[in-house]
């Protein structure tokens, strides 16, 4: 502890070198913290999104498993449909605790006057059976914003009423009582048909795909898309959700033609695997950054030791032991690394939104919630890591400085 002040003074005496080294470490730490935050945040986000679907198992039309996995979380346009008899067949399975049919269609929006490059001229319409759907998502509530004042759910079979998710209402600038215009090309037709719906409710933000969805009665959705006997998804909650029960359930219903049973655990795995390659690449970048930082620190401290060879010799001449010199150099390395750790952590926290935006642009994330979660544990880990980096990187330069013979060191420094 005696040498802390001395180490700090040495750092302060060479501000440019100290600063550049600290910035180099800070960059490596920021990359590492952001990456770990992304890993954690993405999994949390996937979990939250899937938990908020409200069901554990989906029945879907056979098709691309990635499409199936992402559709419920992120939306999609290449929808496949299954016969509504599937719902009737499955609903009496003794293992089912709750079941809800869902019809999803994609309509073209009209009258919003807003266009962007992300296909947002389309609206996801979700036809639901209100009672069973809400029993699976009891947390769904109406927004308390002024534009949502007077919100209510649509009447069953109402032909012209919709409830809008929070984001879509905000994006379309709609309030309760407004008219929402869409154009749908019904199944088997070539000409689109315009529809107008009255917005009767606006939901509170959920952080899931529901925020970007327009809900309407199941029967109405099937009518306007001219698919009276089809569904997109059957959402199911099992009485007991375990691998064994799920496999048994899958076995029972895999016999149905054109139907696949998808557990949300599978969805999680699929979504995580979607970004695993990107995560691995980013991890590789982080590892490279950390290795570069270690080499940079060792190089800087070695340069510093070399530049201060004379000083080290003098300190030895006036009474410093090898241990004293080792501690001085080692503390200096440690402080440089810790400073870099603190700076990098702060940068990662402040830049989390930017990182999130960049990652969303770079890769298909498949979820709506925040995907970079930098927790206190990650920060603590980063600081411990930076300290470990300092301990490791400082060993060789400190040992080298401590090994200098005083007279030789003084001569070399002259």
């Amino acid at each position: 502890m005696r040498y802390i002040r001395l180490a700090l003074r040495n750092m302060a005496y060479r501000p440019a070198r100290t600063g550049l080294t600290v910035v180099g470490i800070a960059l490596a730490v920021a990359v590492a913290v952001s990456l770990i935050g992304f890993n954690l945040g993405y999994r949390q986000s996937i979990n939250a999104s899937i938990d908020k679907l409200g069901f554990q198992v989906m029945l879907m039309a056979k098709g691309c498993p990635y499409e199936a996995a992402t559709m419920m979380l992120k939306g999609g346009t290449g929808l496949l449909y299954l016969p509504s008899t599937t719902f009737d067949d499955v609903r009496n399975d003794p293992e089912i605790a709750a079941i809800t049919p869902i019809f999803i269609g994609v309509a073209e929006k009209e009258g919003s006057g807003i266009r962007d490059d992300s296909a947002s001229s389309f609206a996801i319409l979700s036809g639901i059976e209100r009672a069973s759907f809400l029993s699976m998502k009891p947390w769904l509530a109406f927004s308390d914003t002024p534009r949502a004042a007077g919100s209510r759910w649509f009447a069953d079979n109402a032909p012209d009423e919709v409830v809008m998710g929070y984001e879509v209402a905000e994006y379309e600038q709609r309030k309760v009582g407004d008219i929402f215009y869409v154009t749908v090309t019904p199944q088997g037709k070539t000409e689109p048909v315009s529809h107008q719906f009255k917005v009767v409710g606006i939901l509170d933000r959920t952080g899931t795909q529901d925020d970007g969805t327009v809900f309407l009665p199941l029967s109405t959705a099937r009518v306007i898309f001219n698919r009276p006997d089809e569904l997109t998804i059957v959402g199911i909650k099992l009485k007991e959700f375990s691998g064994l029960r799920l496999r048994e359930f899958e076995k029972r219903w895999a016999k149905l033609p054109e139907v696949q049973v998808v557990s949300l655990q599978q969805v999680k795995t699929t979504l995580v695997s979607l970004v695993e390659t990107a995560q691995a690449m980013i991890a590789a970048v982080a590892v490279v950054a950390i290795v570069v930082a270690i080499i940079g620190v060792i190089n800087t401290i070695l340069m510093s030791v070399s530049e201060r060879t004379g000083e080290i010799g003098i300190m030895k001449a006036i009474g410093a032991s090898r241990g004293d010199i080792f501690q001085i150099i080692w503390y200096e390395t440690l402080f440089i690394c810790l400073s870099g750790g603190i700076l990098g952590s702060v940068a990662a926290v402040l830049g989390a939104r930017g990182v999130e935006a960049g990652l969303r642009r770079l890769i298909d994330i498949g979820t709506h919630g925040s995907i970079v979660a930098i927790s206190p544990a990650i920060i603590a880990g980063a600081l411990v890591g930076a300290a470990a980096l300092g301990v490791f990187a400082g060993l060789y330069p400190a040992w080298r400085a401590a090994s200098l013979r005083p007279i030789a060191a003084i001569r070399e420094g002259e």
Binding site: R2, L6, M315, A317, G319
Partner: protein, 244 residues
């Protein structure tokens, strides 16, 4: 008994017998010291004179335990310094010997007071700023305590180096060409300061110099040539005035 008489009756603070030291220079072995005997008593100031390459600095480095001899015997404050490792030599040096360099060698990142206090840090002794200022007053620099070395003149830096050597209250002050980088006036001032410290602190001082005039102010003047002591005579401080 007079001061001078006391010096010659007390036990020596440093005793070297037959010190030898050689170096490799390429394929050649250079005999820097070829058997030097030297005894220094408490309160004595010994000047070592000699031309460049005569072995002065090598001798000083051995006497201050910064280097180890190849042969011979060295005793400091009654303790034999033979076959010691670098760490053991550091242990002997610490607190017993104050070392002053020709080029001052202050740490540029520390102010004057901190430079002076640095040896206390290594000795794990408490730092007392009042004592530091008192030592700086002894060398006439109490008003420069918080200046950085870069803000001082050469003479002032050398006085800081002396204060740094004094802070641990050593028994022996060893100075290698302390006036080599100073002008005549500053050189005189440094030797006057040594004399004052001998009188006030009872230090023994061993100093190398090229300057015969300054060297002659010591109690004893030793001339080193080609690694051997070729002459030893009393300095002006002891030599009786002509005709006395």
């Amino acid at each position: 008994m007079t001061n001078h008489a006391q010096r010659y009756t007390s036990d020596p603070v440093l005793e070297a017998v037959g010190l030898r030291r050689s170096y490799r220079r390429g394929s050649e072995t250079v005999q820097a010291l070829r058997g030097v005997d030297l005894t220094v008593r408490p309160g004595e100031m010994v000047a070592i004179l000699g031309p460049s390459g005569s072995g002065k600095t090598t001798l000083i480095n051995l006497l201050s335990c910064l280097d180890a001899p190849d042969g011979g015997r060295l005793t400091i404050a009654g303790a034999s310094v033979e076959n010691l490792s670098e760490e053991e030599l550091t242990g002997v040096r610490r607190g017993r010997i104050g070392y002053i360099f020709q080029k001052f060698h202050l740490l540029p990142s520390l102010n004057v007071a901190e430079n002076v206090e640095l040896p206390l840090l290594f000795l794990e002794r408490p730092v007392d700023r009042v004592k530091t200022i008192e030592i700086l007053r002894q060398v006439g620099l109490e008003d420069r305590a918080f200046h950085l070395p870069g803000e001082l003149s050469g003479g002032q830096m050398q006085r800081v180096a002396i204060a740094r050597a004094l802070i641990v209250r050593p028994g022996i002050l060893i100075a290698d060409e302390p006036t080599g980088n100073l002008d005549r006036a500053n050189g005189e001032a440094i030797f006057a300061l040594f004399r004052k410290l001998i009188e006030s602190e009872g230090l023994s001082v061993i100093v190398t110099t090229h300057n015969q005039h300054l060297g002659s102010q010591a109690d004893r003047v030793i001339t080193l040539e080609d690694g051997l002591i070729t002459r030893e005579e009393p300095g002006a401080a002891i030599r009786p005035a002509a005709g006395a």
